[in-house]
């Protein structure tokens, strides 16, 4: 049977799989050291580029896996949900999010890992994140126009540039490899 096997399943089994996927995700983040705010912010001071290395190796592996499983006919990529593109909200929201991340020292996912490994600062970030979402949701009306502007749907880089999927995959791998080389040079103590 062609994958994905259980789309949009919120039955008991579907939610058990959600817990299992989350547990593996949390364990990988913890092993990488991304439950540590000091390690995470090292990225923005050029002292520890773990964030970049972990994120890009994960993206490359998942991207190559999805591409080749799609080519092999094992995975039906048309049924895998590509996050929708909303140009202005994602550019502005991204910049705001990044400034918050440098201040908090953790992102929403890693704050859960930090809190779960006993860190009070992780819990503070989680509570802040929750409050931020709650307050923004309650005061949503003035943001709605921006939030719903510049919709582009599930647009991929290959569709946007009119370049074959495989060529974009290859380009991302090349950029990641160059990036890893640069990261190792930046980190090397002078």
């Amino acid at each position: 049977m062609t994958a994905p096997w259980i789309e949009g399943d919120t039955s008991g089994a579907g939610l058990a799989i959600a817990v299992a996927c989350g547990a593996a995700f949390g364990a990988a983040l913890e092993r990488a050291g991304l439950g540590s705010a000091r390690k995470l912010v090292g990225q923005f001071y050029g002292t520890d580029l773990t964030v970049f290395k972990v994120m890009f190796s994960a993206i490359v592996v998942a991207m190559l896996g999805a591409f080749w499983l799609g080519q092999a006919g094992v995975l039906d990529l048309a049924r895998v949900a590509v996050p929708d593109t909303w140009l202005a909200p994602q550019l502005i929201g991204g910049a705001v999010f990044g400034a918050g991340m440098a201040t908090a020292g953790l992102c929403p996912g890693t704050s859960c890992v930090a809190a779960a490994s006993g860190r009070g600062d992780g819990l503070a970030v989680m509570l802040g994140m929750f409050s931020g979402v709650l307050v923004t949701g309650l005061l949503f009306a003035p943001l709605r126009a921006l939030h719903e502007s510049t919709a582009r749907g599930p647009l991929t880089v290959s569709a946007w540039l009119g370049v074959p999927y495989g060529a974009v995959v290859l380009a991302v791998v090349a950029i990641a490899l160059v990036g890893f080389g640069v990261a190792e040079r930046i980190e090397r103590p002078a």
Partner: protein, 172 residues
Amino acid sequence: MIGRVRRPYADPYVAGACLGVVLLAAFVITGRGLGASGAFATTAAGLTHAIAPAEAEANPYFARYLGGGGPWRDWLLFEIGGVALGGALSAWAAGRLRGEVERGPRARRRSRLVLGFAGGMVMGLGAVLARGCTSGLALTGGALLSVGAWLFMLAAFAGAYLAAPVLRRVWR
């Protein structure tokens, strides 16, 4: 945990590759990726609905979390519960499970907690605007080559690098 040795963290490329395999498994099994901010959003929607049902249903942002199986049967809410579970088990197995407030060498405990909360709130605003965070948008969408995910990732790194010099005293 007293007396246990904290084992060093894993190699970032190995940990990242494992994370990539987990993300790929989520694509194959469920047809969706991983996430985090959605769990906060569905909790906010669910609590608002419990206190003021009519207001929550009339709110265009919260309303999208109130359909289907309802806000408490949300896939990402269970997934984030798993993240905490997996993070705790992994930290425990590596001797890294311990109560502390991690902060820069010159930062006070209270200022770290206040800045953590404040930074979290700012991330909340950004995640609502962008419809996702580093997990659900940057990581998941990045691997699926979503244009918005890559724009979000570039903008988030830019925002963080712009804010970092101002925060140098907090962390260095």
